[in-house]
């Protein structure tokens, strides 16, 4: 089968901004694969981002994140909004493959042109998302989605990268996952702007609600005007739509939180944090790429590995040496940057 011809970044960006889903799909693939063109694409896309509402859902595997998102999509579509969904599932540490199963829950929207859904494998990246999830969110913003929903992979205690991507983080819990000490621990419990107790029709839900309520009270900031995460019991999966619970309340809580962010100008802080995280990631990647490119073909990488293996040196000394060499070469760049600093 013929190999696809390389795509022209400007042309693709234009199509993307016009809402073309094939252009978006192709661009996301290239960015996921960290192709040479990624930064070129992102430079073109970036100015058209930052205006959408970005909601994150996190929680353990099987807690009902996808099922809740299914209902959120419906509600936002009823309001006439365009919705993008990025759903991350884990990649195999052995084969590198992944089974991406979140789309099953979104079947009701499989024919709706106002919904764009993309599944991603985490590809070994820790933190509950994939390396390029933030870029994918930006692409979905640029293609004109009013709301972008990000679903993390099944997250336990410490996969908290979602706070750097989403403005409103929803933590999805289910009954009987542990006592109140579990809920008091640092990490994922702290990042929630909204806490959902899904499967609230199961036994044990009521006592779970009480202990979560108590834990939230413990953690309330005494600062005036700060946000207290609401606790919402939901039932996201039911045979009849009347048997669903808490969906309207969840949508309202998300709206309340967004309103709070905008009125208190906390939104600027959220966006700044997102940029800070993004800058760090891009910086790390590009420096690493730059240095590995410089080492490529010199055989030095293998020499360093051998030297470490033989006990003649260690990774820290090697990195220091390599950085020194590159920084010396880079000092010319530094001069150019400082002479341009007037901007």
């Amino acid at each position: 089968m013929a190999k696809k011809t390389p795509d022209n970044p400007d042309e693709m960006a234009q199509k993307l901004l016009a809402g073309d889903r094939r252009a978006a799909a192709r661009m996301i693939t290239l960015i996921e694969n960290q192709s040479e063109k990624s930064s070129q694409f992102m430079k073109l896309v970036y100015p058209n981002t930052g205006k959408s509402m970005v909601i994150g859902l996190t929680g353990s595997g099987g807690s009902g994140k996808s099922s809740l998102i299914n209902h959120l999509i419906r509600q936002y579509r009823d309001q006439g909004k365009r919705v993008g969904v990025v759903a991350v599932d884990p990649s195999s540490p052995f084969s590198g493959g992944a089974l991406l199963g979140d789309r099953i829950r979104f079947q009701a929207h499989s024919m709706d042109d106002g919904v764009y859904i993309r599944s991603m494998g985490s590809r070994g990246y820790l933190g509950g998302l994939a390396r390029s999830t933030n870029d994918v969110v930006r692409i979905m913003e640029a293609m004109g989605n009013d709301v972008v929903i990000v679903e993390t992979l099944g997250a336990g205690q410490d996969e908290v990268d979602i706070i750097h991507v989403a403005q409103t983080c929803v933590l999805v819990l289910t009954p009987n996952m542990g006592d109140d000490i579990q809920a008091m621990k640092a990490g994922i419990m702290e990042i929630a702007d909204i806490i959902v107790l899904n499967k609230a029709d199961l036994d044990g839900a009521i006592s779970c609600l009480h202990s979560l309520e108590a834990t939230i009270q413990l953690g309330i900031s005494r600062k005036e005007g700060s946000w207290t995460p609401p606790l919402i019991p939901t039932v996201a999966s039911a045979a009849k739509i009347e048997d669903l619970q808490g969906i309207n309340e969840l949508v309202k809580a998300i709206n309340d939180h967004q309103e709070y962010l905008h009125q208190s100008h906390a939104i600027d802080e959220v966006q700044t944090k997102r940029i800070e995280q993004e800058l760090g990631l891009v910086f790390k990647d590009e420096v690493q790429k730059f240095i590995f490119k410089g080492l490529k073909g010199t055989g030095k990488k293998q020499q360093y590995i051998k030297a470490i293996f033989d006990g003649r040196t260690d990774p820290y000394s090697v990195v220091e040496e390599v950085l020194k060499t590159f920084l010396k070469e880079g000092s010319k760049v530094k001069e150019t940057i400082s002479s341009k600093q007037q901007i």
Partner: protein
């Protein structure tokens, strides 16, 4: 783990509720290092194709058991053509009479794997025949 991955959509269209086979295939493709989007059962041809577009899939895999393969396959091929997915591989697997294999290939299916096919043969076929992604 950032090299290019083969992305496969696997699904069942129509009212056929036998999903054991498609789950086995999805798992073995995952174990072969592919990213497999499982859409589940009871899909429509339009829905499958829209998912393939959004996911930028390299391969669409359909599984049949209850005899709807000659009904839905031409619809899938037609939808693929309408959406310009001519560089996407269409692979069909499942349980059907041997004489239907050439019929489906005539319709536009790239390859057919009947019950009893070796897992290696499916993986090898996909690896050899997917388009390259730059």
């Amino acid at each position: 783990m950032n090299q290019n991955k083969i992305k496969v959509i696997v699904s069942k269209v129509g009212l056929d509720g036998h999903d054991r086979g498609v789950k086995v295939v999805a798992t073995l493709l995952k174990e072969a290092g592919m990213e497999v989007v499982y859409l589940g059962m009871y899909q429509t041809p339009e829905g499958v194709i829209k998912a393939a577009v959004d996911e930028d899939a390299d391969v669409i895999g359909l599984s049949y058991l209850s005899g709807e393969h000659l009904v839905y396959t031409p619809k899938i091929v037609d939808e693929m053509r309408k959406s310009g997915l001519d560089d996407v591989l269409l692979v069909v697997g499942g349980s059907f009479p041997p004489e239907d294999v050439p019929v489906m290939k005539e319709m536009g299916v790239d390859e057919v794997f009947r019950g009893g096919s070796l897992t290696e043969s499916i993986v090898d076929y996909i690896k050899k025949n997917t388009r390259g992604k730059s």
